[in-house]
Amino acid sequence: MASTVIGAGIIIEGEIVTDEDVVVLGTVRGKVSAKEGVTIQQGATVEADVVGAGLVVAGTLTGNITAADRVDLQAGARVIGNVKAARVTIADGAQFKGNVDMDV
């Protein structure tokens, strides 16, 4: 259940801070910080450092990811940036360039 949804046609340039989870279908440039999960859907474009409890990425993300729990890069994901999380999965078909740090 997402309480913040950035729709497909919307561009946010700036910082998003929330206690809940975030689903991005549009574009975010800046910074995202959530206490719950962050989902970057297919077609979404995020140019930001993202902090969340967990991350699921199916779209494009350029920035560093910090997650307390797990990060899932799904098929179709294009991620450039460093990932710091307890667990990381990179699906077949996901493109990833960056460092992975699972030493939490």
Binding site: A2, T4, G7, G9
Partner: protein, 187 residues
């Protein structure tokens, strides 16, 4: 998926610019700017420190910024707005409070005088008495055509200003000018 609804949740704080297409629902905090071709709803918990531009804006929360609706702006009970509101249609419900300018209609620019001056027979008499306080030199002239000319120019020109100045409730000198004035047409 076409531009769906964007929801800024209750505990979410956005600092920056929100732009694009699609409807927007603000339940949290947005400081910056909001520009969309869709509708914008700021719910009772929403707090917006931004100019907001959209198609139809519905406000139930707090806004510090200008509200520009391509179609309408509606302030509902609970709305607290400090800023200007411009839209073809504006509604302000009981319980909504605001401080700022309101401009309905498509064109925000100067509009023609709201209340047309009285027909010549009556209006000429009015400026004749107002002539003294007003800074129009030709009005000081006592000849009969002058008050009419002044009436016409007052009406055509800064009509809003002339109309808003009520005549002093004094001496009726109507009888004298009235007969003459009836022959003139008000422009």
């Amino acid at each position: 998926m076409a531009s769906g609804v964007t929801v800024i949740g209750r505990t979410t704080r956005v600092r920056g610019r929100l732009s694009g297409d699609g409807d927007l629902q603000v339940e949290g905090l947005v400081i910056g700017e909001i520009v969309t071709s869709g509708n914008v709803t700021i719910d009772a918990h929403g707090i917006v420190g931004a100019n907001v531009r959209g198609r139809r804006l519905v406000v139930r929360g707090a806004v510090q910024g200008d509200l520009l609706g391509e179609e309408a702006v509606v302030l509902e009970d609970g709305a607290r707005v400090v800023g200007d509101v411009r839209a073809p249609r504006v509604a302000i419900a009981h319980g909504a409070l605001m401080r700022g300018l309101v401009q309905t209609g498509d064109d925000g620019s100067a509009q023609p005088p709201l209340i047309r001056a009285q027909p010549a027979a009556k209006s000429a008499a009015v400026p004749a008495r107002v002539a003294a306080p007003a800074a129009k030199p030709n009005a000081a002239v006592a000849i009969r055509p002058a008050p009419v000319a002044k009436a016409a120019s007052t009406v055509a020109g800064g009509a809003a200003g002339a109309l808003r100045r009520p005549p002093p409730p004094v001496v009726p000198i109507l009888k004298k000018t009235k007969g003459q004035v009836l022959k003139k047409k008000e422009r």
